[in-house]
Structure formats: C-alpha cells, structure tokens
Amino acid sequence: MRHESSLSQVQAATNFSEPAPLHATTRAEIDASLRFPVLLFFRTALFWLLLGSILCTITSLKLVVPCFLDGINFLSYGRLLPVALDALLYGWAIPAGLGISLWLIARLCGRSLRCTKILVAATLFWNIGVFLGSLGILCGYGTSVPWLEYPNWASIPLFIAFLLMGVWVVLLFLARQPRSIYITQWYLLLGLCAFPWLYATSNMLLTWGSVQASAQGPIIAWYSANIFGLFLIPLALGIIYYLIPKITGAAIYSYYLAVLGFFSLLLLAGWSGMTLFLGGPIPVWMVSASVVATMLMMIPVAAVILNYAKMIQGQAAALKESPALRFIAFGIIAYFVATLLNLAYAIPTWNGILHFTHYSNGVVLLTLLGFVSMVLFAGMYYIAPRLFGFSWLCACSIRCHFWFAVVGLSLMVTSMTLGGLIEGLALDDAAITFVNVLSFAAPWRWLNVIAWMLLLLSYVSFVRLFGKMLFRATHPDQKASACSFNPLASVS
C-alpha cells in the first residue's frame, strides 16, 4: 500500500508533537492582523446558521402540517429545503471553517496576515454568492442537484471567492516560520485544496450541463460524499488535533495512528459515497467499491478517535473548565455514531430498507451539525476570546448552547434513524399503502420538529452571546453583564 512507504517520510518531515509555542508578541501580532477578517467570517457564518436552522424548522413542520404557509411559491417545501441545507453548508460551515483554519494556520506558521482587504472582499463576495444563490432557488431557478441547488451562475462568485480566501492559507503555509508541519496543517491543507476541485468539477459537469444525464448519478453521489469526507471532516479533524493539546497540554498519543488516520482517510474517502444509489441506475462495481470503502472507513475513524480519546482521557477538570473541549468531546462521539450508522447503511440488505427514508438525511445532519458544527463551535470558543481580547461573558449562555444542542441533536438522530427504520420497514411491505406509510412516519417527524426547535434555541443562545461580545468589543466602557466566566484561565 502506498502510504506504508511514505510513513517514514512523513515522520521525517513533520513534527507531530504539540504545536510549537510562539512568542507572546508574535501571538499578539497575529491576532491583531486576523481580528477583523476572522470575526467577519464568524459573523456572516452565524447569520446563515440562524437562517438555515429557522428554515429547517419550518420545513420540518411543513412535512407534518402541509397547510402551514402553503400555496406561496417561494415558501414551498421543495424550494425552502435546499435553501436551508445550502445555507448550513455554504453559509455556515464553510466560512466558519475557513475563519478557524486561517487563524490556526497563521498561528502554526507563526505568520501574521497582510493585505487583509482582499480577504475581507472575498468574504463579502462569497456571502453575496450564497445570498444570490438562495434568492435564485426561492425565485424558481434552483437546479435540484443535491448540494448544488444554486443556479449555475451563482457558482462563479462562490468559486472565485473561495480561491481568494483559500489562497491565504496556502501563502501562510509556504511562508511558515517553524519549517516542520503539524498534523493539523496536513488536514487543513487537504480540505482547502480539495474543495475547489470538488466544487468546480461537479458544477461543470452537473449544473453547467456538460454531461449526459445517464452519467450524473455517480457524480452526484461523489460530490455529496466528498464535500464531507474530503473537505469538512478533514477540517474538523485538523481543528481537533490543534485544540486538544492546547487545552489539555497533552501531547499527541501516537504518531503512527495520526499518520495512519490521515492517509487511510485520504485513501478511502474518495471511494465511499456510491451507497447513496445502492441498487440504483449506476454501475454495480461502483456500489461494491463504496460498500468496501465504507466498511474500511472504520480504520481512519478508529485511529483518530483512539488518538483523541487517549489525549482527553483523565482530563475531567479540563472538560468541566473548557467549553471548547466539551464541544469537541460531543463532536467526536457524533463522528463515531455517524460512522457506525453509515456502516449499517452500506450493508445492501439493510440499505434496501433504510434507503429513501429519513435515515440517510439523519446521518448527513449528524455529520454536519453533530460533528462538524460542534467542532466549529469549539474552535470559535477557543479563538474568539483571543481576538476580542476578553473572555466569554456568560457561562449560562454557553451551557444553554451546549445542552440544547446535545438534547436536540440526540433527539434528531433518534427520530430520523429509528423513525427511518420504521418508515423503511413499512415501505418495504407492499401491502401497506403509501398513505399508510405516512402515518407510520408521522410521529417521528413530529419529534424531528421538536428537535429542530431545541437546536434553534441552542443556536440562538450562542448568537446572543456572540452579539454581546461584539457589543462589548465596540463599547469597551460598558459594564460587563453579571455572570462572567474565564476559559482563558487555564491556557495561553
């Protein structure tokens, strides 16, 4: 296998021990240069997070109460759902991930950022792209290609803006001061280089219509899987590899596992995903390859999780102290559960039952909101106080954010997977008429509405807290609110 031979090279070229500590003045310089752009990323991301989850709540309600807001074209289910999901992906997860990556890369490379104006312009450009794309869907120009629903012209500003934002990460990397590379940098670079390629080729082939429809199935499945497997998941894994050692002071448990985790993910992620059309009109060998890849996916997942678990082990105090670590811990569990659920979904006979129910969407949402987003929140909890220059203002908001998210996500996953299973069993029995299948699914869909409401509460409390921080930063003379909390106490 390829990666075996390169193990020694990786070890030679990389420094897997803790991210190198920087001098305090360098740190301050970096933070000052990144303050405005990174906070701008966070602000726009939080706007889309809120909008996306409000729309998701509405659509989940529409599914059980179809007459809710019905008969209005731009509020119909089929238009709102893609807007909501794309807002969560392109509006929230990607900019938040980029903002965190920029900061991490700058810190790891010991370099502050210059020419931030271009970066700021690119962020705005990206957000205009997301906005126009969403508007396009609402006005009836959606493409109905999964995760690429924006009208094809909206992909141009998005693509250019991403290049303009991503190029900073690459420039910072090339100019790095400590020459050795930490595992986080590997993951972040992988994700940031993968996205333009994923996005450009899929858009060219699918929304610009240069490939015959008979060939679109595998490309759709490839994009939907890899936007997570090769982009968002590597970003999240990289962020975790940075944050845990910084928060707990523990060194990486095993170099070997870290390398194994990275390369086996890279090897397998690109080949998974065809299970989305298992039994459908795509070549059988593709499905078989993906079934195998999905099974083997346990290797990279086990490798990283083992590494993380060993680093968190025995850190009960840090877990209590640091909100970032708590979000990470939940994210890791969500990643593990999502992998198991994916594994079950890849077993052909089980897939026959689970396919086309809420199950698969449940796993996608668990990955996006339970794993990636929780890690992004962790990143924000760690980074934002350093940019603001003061610590989080209100511990109870953080608790609300965390616990509503935990309960909401758990309820969502249960309702979608268990409900999906029951719906699937009903669908599989042709003696049950379709309308009767709906009544099997309905109670679970109600639970899903409740889950979305809880998640919305969770996000609202974070956005409120973030807003308070912003207000405090611009009005330094005002007194802080009553409850205060100091996550900075334990770390530098």
Binding site: R2, H3, S6, Q9, A13, L63, P66, C67, G71, I72, S76, Y77, G78, R79, P82, G140, G142, S144, P146, I181, W197, T201, S202, L205, G209, V211, Q212, A213, S214, A215, G217, P218, I219, I220, W222, L230, F263, L266, L267, G270, F277, G279, G280, P281, I282, P348, N351, G352, I353, H355, F356, S360, N361, L427, D428, D429, A430, F434, V435, S439
Partner: protein
C-alpha cells in the same frame, strides 16, 4: 521542500484515484451511452418540448426533495416493483433524454419514474397538484395552487378547468385553469415511463 514533494504527490494521487474512478469513468463511459435503435424509432423515446420545459419546473419546485425517480434492483429489494412503481429496475440509459437525472434520495412521496404509466389523465394531475388532499386523503404533499390561475368564464368553460369543491373552489362565474408551467410539468410527468425493454435489463418475471 524536497523531502515533502513525494508526500504531496502521494496525497494528490490518492485524492485523484477516486475522482478518476467515479467521475472521469462516468463522464467517459456512462456519458457516451447511445440510444437503442429499433426499427420503429429509438429508445428511450424522445421527449416533447413541453416535457423538456416541464423538467425545469420539476427542478425549480424541488419535487425531487420528496420524490425519487429510480426503480431499484430486485436483488436489493423487490418492494419497488411490488409497489407497482415499475416493471423492471431502472438503468443508466433510461435517463439518456433528460437534462438532469432527478434520481432523488428520499421518498417522502412515491417514486415517479413510471408515474406516466399509472396515471394518464392530465386532469387528474391538475386536480392533484392543485389540492392533493382532495384527491388522496391524508396526503402531505404541498399544494401547488400557484401553478394555476383563476379566470372569468367566457362563453364555454375551458376544457382544462378543474372541477373543485371545498375551500379552494372558485367563485361563481370563475374557473381554475393550469398555467403554462403546470401544463409543461404535467407533460413531463406523463413522459415518465420506463415501459420499454432495453437489452441490458431483462424484464422481471411476473409473480
């Protein structure tokens, strides 16, 4: 940097392997499938202009968020065929004439790959799109009333007018008729038929 180059190349190769396997292969192989030429035309049959425009409406309205268009292999599950959603599994060539393959990933509503075989009367579709619950009690499909217009009856009532009772019925002297979009959409739905045979997929024996 020199030490890193082989590493970067390895990473790029691993990354592109999946792309070559799935994307490039699809483009080169599935993208070049040709219609099956028969003595009386080619399969799958060509679509009318109205149906092609209707596919755009189908995309714009996001019908795909609830409806799939694929009948699965019987080795995975026989239930698609048992539910009368098709007589045989779908294959890549069935989508040859479409602009976008609306394969779909969820079935909140029934599969539509052969809906044109099941329902052949356009008026049925109009009625259903206008008010699904009036046609299928208990349905949770959204109502697409905005694809219809209410107009004053001039002389003879229009042939396409839908007969309505209940809360959404038109006032005295008015009628509800489909817009061009609704007509195109229904033309598209009526064209959803995989009722021909292709050599790569033998018909499933009747039980």
């Amino acid at each position: 940097m020199n030490r890193l180059r082989p590493l970067f190349i390895t990473i790029a190769l691993l990354f592109f392997a999946g792309w070559l396997g799935f994307v490039a292969y699809s483009y080169l192989q599935l993208g070049r499938l040709a219609p099956q030429v028969e003595s009386d035309g080619s399969l799958p049959p060509l679509q009318s202009g109205s149906a092609i425009r209707g596919a755009k409406v189908y995309a714009a309205e996001g019908c795909m968020t609830c409806h799939s268009q694929q009948v699965r292999q019987t080795s995975v599950t026989p239930s698609d065929i048992d539910r009368n959603w098709g007589k045989r599994p779908s294959v890549a060539r069935d989508y040859l004439r479409d602009q976008v393959a609306f394969l779909g990933t969820s079935r909140i509503g029934p599969d539509l790959s052969n809906v044109g075989v099941r329902f052949t009367d356009p008026i049925w579709y109009y009625r259903h799109l206008y008010e699904p619950t009036a046609v299928v009690p208990g349905s949770n499909m959204p109502a697409y009333r905005y694809l219809f217009k209410m107009q004053k009856i001039q002389g003879q009532p229009s042939e396409e007018a839908i007969v309505l009772t209940g809360p959404h019925a038109p006032k005295e002297g008015y009628e509800v008729v489909p817009t061009e979009e609704a007509k195109d959409l229904v033309a598209y739905l009526l064209s959803r038929k995989q009722d021909y045979t292709l050599p790569e997929v033998p018909p499933v024996p009747e039980k």
